[in-house]
């Protein structure tokens, strides 16, 4: 099969889309209240070293994906275990994102429509997209992201008229603790979730610099999230943000310019759906690649459809109610940090040692 190639521009756009994925939907920055901006800024700073790890891994093993790297570094047996762990994580993450969006649709628009149905529709699309391949995903994102950005930026621009600067003050009123907590959460959701891109960035053209892609998208994505969080606080006020499950949605709900430019929140819902779709798609892609590696399929597409349906099933049994989603967000960072930081660090250390050793070995006989 022909190897698929995505351009580095598409790669940056993919990461951007992935970051705003379900973060936009369920916010995740409410504990820091008016200091959400600081929290996001901090988490961007914390994300830098982690992104460095990912980029370094990709640079050490060009044209290899995460699973190939693991196998090469840890060998068959331990490698297999790690691949299973990572694949599970991607699979689980996909189910979480899927559940977030179906829950959102149910609460906001369709209380009577079963979530299963919405999820099923998304599932069909996921399978179609993954069968069409990574290049199609890249082009799809390249087409859809500018539209999404225009929507987000214009909603921000028109809702600024309703902003109230006192909502942002006083800074650091509740001390650093909630800020740190929030920034830790934001680090694991969404920033460090980009570990998933190490599984597909073997499709980048040979001479691309992974650092540039990772850092550029981190800056852009972080800035976007920062602006959105600030807008939400400015427009809604901290207590509303704290009360609402979907603050970004509520912030758009209150837009009303004249009497004609109002009731536009559906556009934001659609943005949510599309970005979550892309995020789930990447998760499913990562999981498919991982599991096909374990079971020795030549083509990850063979395993996508069953995996997608399993993902749907998992997303139903994850939570009983929307309350649990937000309770899970409390635990999630400690669960995710294992896959996002601990395992990659381990991998990088062993990989560095091995490459150094082989370099000296190569060096010595000559």
């Amino acid at each position: 099969m022909k190897k698929e190639i995505i351009s580095s521009k598409q790669a940056v756009m993919m990461i951007l889309m992935f970051m705003i994925g379900s973060t936009l939907v369920i916010g995740g920055s409410s504990t820091a209240k008016q200091d959400a901006g600081i929290a996001i800024f901090l988490s961007i700073c914390m994300a830098f070293p982690i992104f460095f790890i990912y980029a370094r891994l990709l640079q050490l093993f060009p044209n290899k994906n995460l699973f190939d790297i693991i196998e090469q570094v840890f060998g068959k047996f331990i490698g297999k275990i790690m691949i299973v762990l990572f694949s599970w994580y991607f699979f689980h993450l996909g189910a979480l994102v899927l559940r977030n969006i179906t829950e959102f649709v149910q609460i906001v628009s369709f209380p009577e429509t079963p979530q299963f149905f919405v999820a099923f529709c998304i599932g069909i699309l996921l399978i179609y997209m993954i069968y069409s391949g990574l290049e199609v995903l890249g082009r799809f994102i390249e087409f859809i992201l500018p539209i999404i950005l225009v929507v987000i930026i214009s909603t921000i621009a028109i809702s600024l008229g309703k902003s109230n600067v006192t909502n942002l003050k006083p800074m650091l009123y509740n001390g650093w603790q909630p800020i740190l907590k929030t920034s830790f959460l934001l680090l694991t959701f969404p920033f460090a979730e980009t570990i998933i891109f190490t599984t597909i960035f073997d499709s980048l053209p040979a001479k691309t610099n992974p650092y540039k892609i990772y850092f550029l998208s981190l800056l852009m994505g972080g800035f976007l999230l920062l602006v959105i969080a600030l807008r939400n606080i400015l427009v809604l006020g901290t207590s509303n943000i704290f009360n609402h499950y979907f603050p970004t949605y509520s912030a758009v709900l209150v837009i009303s310019i004249g009497k004609f430019l109002e009731r536009i929140e559906i556009i934001v819902s659609i943005v949510f759906i599309l970005s979550s779709f892309v995020k789930t798609n990447l998760c499913l892609l990562g999981a498919s690649i991982g599991f096909s590696k374990i079971f020795h399929f030549d083509d990850y597409r063979q395993i996508t459809a069953p995996l997608c349906f399993l993902m749907l099933m998992l997303s139903f049994i994850l939570y009983h109610s929307v309350m649990e989603i937000f309770e899970w967000l409390e635990i999630y960072p400690y669960y995710a940090i294992f896959f996002q930081v601990i395992l990659p660090v381990l991998l990088l250390i062993v990989a560095e040692i091995k490459t150094r050793l082989s370099m000296t070995k190569k060096g010595s006989p000559s």
């Binding site: 699309l125 390249e142 009731r263 536009i264 819902s269």
Partner: protein
């Protein structure tokens, strides 16, 4: 007809004219259009000749004046020596003449309108070009009218069509390569491209696909298009067609390849990209502002015609909170007492519109007027007054219909996508619509036309690539040809 090719293989010509004539007659058994005309020289009746041709495919004047008269009236001609060479080079005044002893070739020549001349004593025959059947004169194509620009349209004659292209691009780099398509029809086809601009990869790809073309007939360009299409089941066409030589010339200059088929006034161009649907030949002859506006309008029209029914349905049946209050009041008032659900109303009316349209295209124009009166008045006005349908739905369907006519070549796709989006909207409101659009987009992005992504330039936001897509930039600004299609990108000679 089937007996033409196969038995001919076994025949070998003899020196006897009589035998040769019998051979040909046997090959064309039961074909009464074959004419054979034996004749001799006036002074020297030993010189026996016989010509074969098919009635209706030749120009009788040429045969009379250039073949029969010179041979019969020549006072010095004698049946000695290598007379057949003599005839070929000195006597017969025809621009194209060829000697052969291959019966297959003779048969092909006769079928294609040439005349075959046998001479007593030679196991060979001369093929003389006498093609001359009635062709349609060059007229302006009805479906692609322009206000400014050339009024020529292709005709059914391949040679004439090629000459029209040749007259527009006078460079030796313009190549015409002939081939024969269709096992039975043996239709002549010609691949045109400009060497040095064309992408060789696409050219070889086209040849490969044409090699696999093995239908028995190629009566229209669509026979070929459907068989060599990239994604056979896709509603989008990945090969373009046009009736205008100036469009073909323009596409050739962009590095595309044209295929011209004998017997059809339509040429095929490859590769064909999605945005070409929205390009009109007029665009290049008009001021670039107006051309760009026209193009944007066509794109908008396509979006409207596919989306408006679905969005309307989603809004009035799922997302009533999104409709401005005054509007929801009037829609709701219009819907009071209407018996059918909105989705059914829409489906019925949209189908009715398509029926009217289809009926309108197939009937003579003078009945068309009556049809439009019945369609507009009876179905529209009366249905609303009788409360069969609500007035907003009529507006929606009318808008859909009118915008659907803006890009006629996309109307098939529009019907399909409109229906699918409508159904999804009925299930999940605007979310269903979004899912539908996503699926269509995935489909658009995954198809290719001869190795070139179908949606090339749709996703890139580089200024240089956008120049001839959604808008039409001024000519002096379009320095490069579309990438991936061409081998040599620079369009304007650099200083």
């Amino acid at each position: 007809m089937i007996t033409i090719m196969t038995p001919a293989r076994n025949y070998t010509l003899s020196t006897s004219l009589q035998k040769n004539v019998e051979i040909i007659k046997e090959i064309f058994l039961n074909d009464d259009t074959l004419i054979h005309r034996p004749f001799e020289n006036q002074r020297n009746p030993d010189l026996k000749c016989c010509i074969f041709y098919i009635d209706g495919m030749i120009d009788a004047n040429i045969i009379n004046k250039n073949i029969i008269v010179p041979i019969t009236r020549n006072p010095v001609l004698k049946a000695e020596g290598n007379i057949i060479n003599h005839l070929q080079y000195q006597i017969i005044t025809s621009n194209e003449i060829q000697k052969t002893n291959d019966t297959n070739q003779l048969v092909t020549a006769i079928i294609s309108g040439d005349t075959v001349l046998f001479v007593e004593g030679f196991p060979e025959a001369l093929i003389i070009n006498t093609k001359g059947w009635k062709t349609r004169s060059i007229t302006e194509p009805v479906s692609e009218r322009v206000l400014r620009g050339s009024r020529e349209g292709f005709t059914e004659s391949i040679i004439m069509n090629l000459s029209m292209i040749r007259r527009k691009i006078q460079t030796p780099d313009l190549k015409f390569e002939f081939l024969v398509l269709g096992n039975q029809t043996q239709t002549k086809a010609c691949i045109c491209y400009i060497d040095g601009i064309v992408n060789k990869k696409i050219l070889t790809e086209l040849y490969q696909r044409l090699e696999n073309f093995n239908l028995d007939g190629a009566l229209g360009i669509n026979y070929i298009q459907e068989c060599i299409k990239d994604h056979p089941l896709s509603p989008f066409k990945t090969t373009g067609n046009t009736e205008r030589p100036d469009i073909v010339a323009a596409k050739l200059l962009e590095g595309r390849i044209a295929l011209i088929l004998d017997g059809t006034p339509v040429a095929m161009t490859v590769p064909y990209l999605f945005l070409e649907y929205f390009q009109s030949n007029e665009d290049y002859y008009l001021n670039f502002y107006f051309a760009s506006i026209g193009r944007l309008l066509r794109i908008l029209g396509f979006i409207i015609t596919t989306s408006v029914p679905a969005i309307y349905l989603a809004l009035v049946t799922f997302h009533q909170e999104l409709i401005p209050t005054p509007l929801i009041l009037s829609i709701s008032a219009a819907r009071q007492d209407v018996p059918f659900p909105s989705i059914l109303e829409l489906i019925i009316l949209l189908t009715t519109f398509e029926i009217l349209r289809e009926a309108g295209t197939r009937i003579p124009t003078y009945i068309g007027q009556a049809l439009s009166i019945v369609g507009a008045l009876v179905l529209g006005q009366a249905a609303v007054q009788a409360r069969f349908v609500s007035a907003p739905i009529v507006i929606v369907v009318a808008l859909t219909g009118i915008t659907g006519l803006m890009v006629p070549s996309l109307s098939g796709v529009a019907i399909l996508s409109r229906a699918s989006l409508l159904l999804l909207s009925a299930l999940l409101g605007l979310y269903g619509y979004t899912f539908g659009v996503t699926a269509w987009l995935i489909h658009l992005f995954r198809i290719h036309s001869f190795g070139v992504p179908f949606t090339l330039d749709l996703t890139s936001f580089h200024l240089q690539d956008l120049k001839d897509t959604a808008i039409r930039a001024p000519w002096w600004y379009m320095k490069y040809r579309p990438k991936q299609i061409t081998f040599n990108r620079r369009r304007i000679k650099s200083d």
